[in-house]
Symmetry: C2
Subunit: 587 residues, 2 copies
């Protein structure tokens, strides 16, 4: 029997007024919230009315955290703290919340004395118990004297009061690389609360890291699955609650952020075997990529090999690369991706459980039923079985000789500023793709953050690090499809002959390439002559070139991977971006 | 005789393509640039053409930095490095740049051997000298073995080559709190280059701090004046060159950023006594604040005491508070501030030298000539002598009893996302106001960063930490005028009686105030009854209340300062913001 854990989210994760936050949490399917003090203080409703509002939305209030710097203080400070606590207990009674969080002290008043801390927490717990409340004590990673969970637990154990337990927060534990296995030694009933947050590993002050850069589970670098398994193995059965301080989420649409948050917990439950859902699909490749509008695929050596039976869609192919061109919709962008999976129905079921927005599709008589979902950036993602869908296209019999393109290497999707982390989690959880390392680079109009996600298919996601302002060009975020070939230099030559509009790379780039590598002069000359870019890693090489923009925001790349090169030539992206910008400006 | 120092800016400071950057630097009046390798590589023009373009714009290329991890390496790496250097020397000859920067190595190949470093730098300098070039060696704060400027200088001295000197970068020195006084021991002719950057003091990894958070001099926490004085005392007479890596500047309009940058160097030169410009004005107070459109000042106890002789402007007064209401322009915002200064002509001359955009004004016959400049957020700033300008208003004879307002305490101007640091520097350099500490707080729609600037008058500047997206409310950035009073509770009572629309503060706020302070219950009750907010610091107390929005983006605050309280009640800003938002939504 799988434990059916409740889910909660701290109001501090979301943007807006308290009512915006509560409505968003409820709409996303959370069972409860952690109420942040500032959200309460700024609300016109009294605590009892807030309790009613939550109940009306189907939400419980699972935690409240109005107390700071409580324990191990001199008697006069203790008296003040107790007085404040009693005030807050009054509020808790009205709110109907049972558990109050007490974080380890960061105060200059604090004394390094575990016995004193235990004694004062015991006193607080006694007062709480009189009102049917309980105290969850948590070690902040930057606590003055108590900054590890095992230390907090020692103090709780020493205090020995039934209304006193610990709160475990994954950020405070994993940011310090504390071993979560010792959690199993804590009796489950003494773990009063569990706060979950992921984060990228960043070389910075832990307090700033915590306050600005937390992420929902699955979006960062922490192993939340192992962490949470330890907590469940200890016997904890309380809510899985998100406490994520993030500068971007804090100003994003709370309804959208709440769905992203809930998906993170569903994916975590799945990784723990607690969710009744089909396993992540194992993609076998791109069935197709679909373009809206009509870029010139003929000049890239593609043949128009099929026409859809009922829709204004053409099929263009070359080698194993298949591109659909849809005459309907906003022209000049990538409208859809077809991902080949062994069991589309199971993949669709998984997508539904993980809150991927379904797209309704109409299939004509005899046409393959296709399941489609919307990715965070609006791209339609089709889950296809093998090549069934090809039957929907009437063959034209057309067949051009081709230019050496053999398939689709990856698709590059530029993400809206707010959705970078959401997109990572979407592809990871819904489609089972694994994110690579995040890289940042300086593009002509500001910093860009990017990462690949892969597993059967490769995607790259990137976003401006700072939301674009008025100065940025009107087309800040082109998308592209990267095709594979076996010889980039000859493919570029063939495409140039057939009239493809390829991006010209400055001579300065090749002068530098000659200076910084040991490539033979004739190799550099061949790359220079065809504007082919070059990268290498410890496993191999990457040769690639680009077309000019072929629509409102689409272009193409052709890549040749040599050896085990696993990247995407990101080092060359600024040169490509500048070239695209110059070409646009020149037109 | 003041040394006439040239000014330069690194292309990496600015957004856009190389040509955007060069044009912006030239337009702002810089004499030269540091050319960044990536800007060169991405440009279609060869080095000789770039040299011509710079010459055409009146710019020299003062520094080029294509070499990394050069020194103290094994022989095979040295051979590769020298080969690369020779390639780059070819480029330098075409660019017409004489000085190349070599930063201390961060490579795992590097060896901790100063003799070897000196020997290899000597070899590089010999090669450079053969071409009439020279090497500036700089200690990166995160250099593997060489990370202090005195260490770099020891190696340069040991190498003993005339074409080898040091480059000093204020960030690398001041970020580590290295004492800049030892710079005076370096012979001026061995300081080949000076790079200037300010920064806020941030508790983070120095490399990330350097790459993302540098600021132009005068915008951060470093003492660039003392630093630069040491360099000049050593005898350096080369350019003052800005090398500022900043995520926001990198995506901002480069023309505007370049002016901000140039202003920072002019202000630095002024602080060193190197600029022939009148001293910063010593403001004596607000002459007036001007509103566009007509909020209801009568309900705040103001009297319409004058009408302008030639313009559709009314003068409203109460105590020493004077507010102009201008019927022309975009209604509902603060259009102008009148700052009283002893010598407006001198202040105007200073503003001009410091590149403050002048505003043309027409004065009717017999009217006081008023000098006005545009602040970064577009607010007009008038520089007024005493009360001369009052003569432009025909007295009405009207006089209401008033509600206890006695003057203007401060004006709060919300800054556009990109202009927060520019605004700080503008008010600091042009008007001589001193910035206070920067504070960040969580507002309902995202984090806000704010700081006060003061000196005779007080201003607060704040900006969203992340540029606002679609979710943020349509009026995200109201401005306000804060009036002084001597008794906030009775003033609030009087204004409520006279029909002023004051913001209602939630009862939860007062429950918390009672819990966390020792204020007498009757005091809390009095504040609660009038929706007066409360703050205290170690010097005194602050009582304040707000009106609802009185125009498109304007409201008013009334404050009572008790004792030496020096803040602005920032702790209460989120409650105020939520209340304003609820009131707007409710209407």
């Amino acid at each position: 029997m799988l434990p059916d854990l409740r889910t909660a989210i701290a109001t501090v994760c979301l943007s807006g007024t308290l009512d915006d936050k509560l409505a968003a949490a409820a709409a996303a399917g959370f069972d409860g919230v952690e109420l942040f003090e500032n959200d309460l203080l700024a609300d016109r409703r009294g605590p009892a009315e807030i309790r009613e509002r939550c109940a009306g939305l189907g939400l419980t209030i699972d935690l409240y955290q109005p107390l700071r710097d409580f324990e191990a203080v001199p008697p006069d400070v203790l008296a003040r703290n107790l007085r404040r606590a009693e005030h807050k207990f009054d509020v808790m009674a009205e709110l109907g919340v049972q558990t109050v969080l007490v974080c380890s002290s960061v105060s200059p008043d604090a004394i390094n004395d575990d016995d004193l801390a235990a004694e004062q927490l015991h006193l607080l717990a006694s007062r709480a118990a009189e009102r049917g409340l309980r105290i969850a004590y948590e070690a902040l990673a930057w606590g003055r004297f108590v900054n590890g969970y095992e230390h907090a637990w020692r103090i709780v154990r020493r205090a020995g009061h039934p209304a006193l337990g610990v709160c475990l927060d994954s950020f405070h534990i994993l940011s310090k690389e504390d071993d979560p296995r010792a959690i199993r030694a804590i009796p489950g009933e003494k773990i009063f609360f569990l706060q979950l947050a992921d984060a990228p590993v960043l070389p910075m002050d832990v307090l700033q890291w915590s306050r600005h850069h937390r992420l929902f589970p699955g979006q960062g670098d922490f192993d939340l699955t192992t962490f949470t398994r330890n907590v469940l193995d200890a016997g904890y059965r309380g809510p899985l609650s998100l406490e994520v301080f993030n500068d971007v989420f804090r100003q994003a649409d709370p309804y959208r952020a709440a769905v992203d948050a809930r998906r993170s917990l569903l994916a975590l439950q799945d990784s723990l075997g607690l969710l009744d859902v089909p396993a992540a699909p194992r993609a076998t490749g791109y069935a197709f990529a679909e373009l809206v509008g009509g870029p010139d695929l003929a000049s890239l050596g593609f043949s128009r090999t099929g026409v859809h039976r009922s829709k204004p869609v053409e099929l263009w192919t070359q080698g194993d690369a298949r591109v659909l061109v849809n005459a309907e919709g906003e022209p000049g962008e990538i409208g859809a991706l077809g991902i080949a999976v062994p069991d589309p129905a199971a993949a669709a079921q998984r997508a539904k459980v993980l809150l991927a927005p379904p797209l309704s599709r109409t299939a004509g008589p005899g046409e393959a039923p296709l399941t489609a979902i919307a990715a965070p950036d609006g791209t339609h993602v089709f889950l296809c079985a093998d090549d069934d869908w090809l039957g929907d296209f009437v063959p034209t019999g057309e067949s051009a000789p081709g230019a050496g393109i053999t398939g689709i290497d990856h698709v590059a999707l530029t993400q809206p500023f707010d959705n970078f982390d959401e997109a990572t989690l979407f592809y990871r959880s819904v489609l089972g793709l694994e994110p690579g390392a995040t890289a940042e680079f300086a593009a002509p109009f500001g910093l860009v953050r990017g990462r690949g996600v892969s597993g059967g298919v490769r995607l790259t996601l990137d976003a401006a690090l700072v939301r674009r302002g008025g100065w940025a060009p009107a087309v800040p975020s082109p998308q592209h499809i990267a095709f594979t070939c076996t010889d980039a230099v000859s493919c570029a030559e063939a495409l140039r002959q057939s009239g493809a509009r390829l991006v010209e790379i400055p001579g300065n780039y090749y002068d530098d390439l000659a200076a910084r590598t040991d490539l033979p002069a004739e190799r550099v000359a061949a790359l220079r002559a065809r504007s082919v870019l070059y990268d290498r890693d410890e496993h191999g090489e990457y040769l690639h070139f680009y077309t000019e923009l072929a629509g409102a925001r689409v272009f193409f790349e052709v890549v040749q991977r040599i050896g085990g090169y696993s990247g995407f030539g990101v080092v060359n992206a600024p040169v490509r971006m500048a070239a695209h910008h110059e070409a646009r400006r020149g037109r």
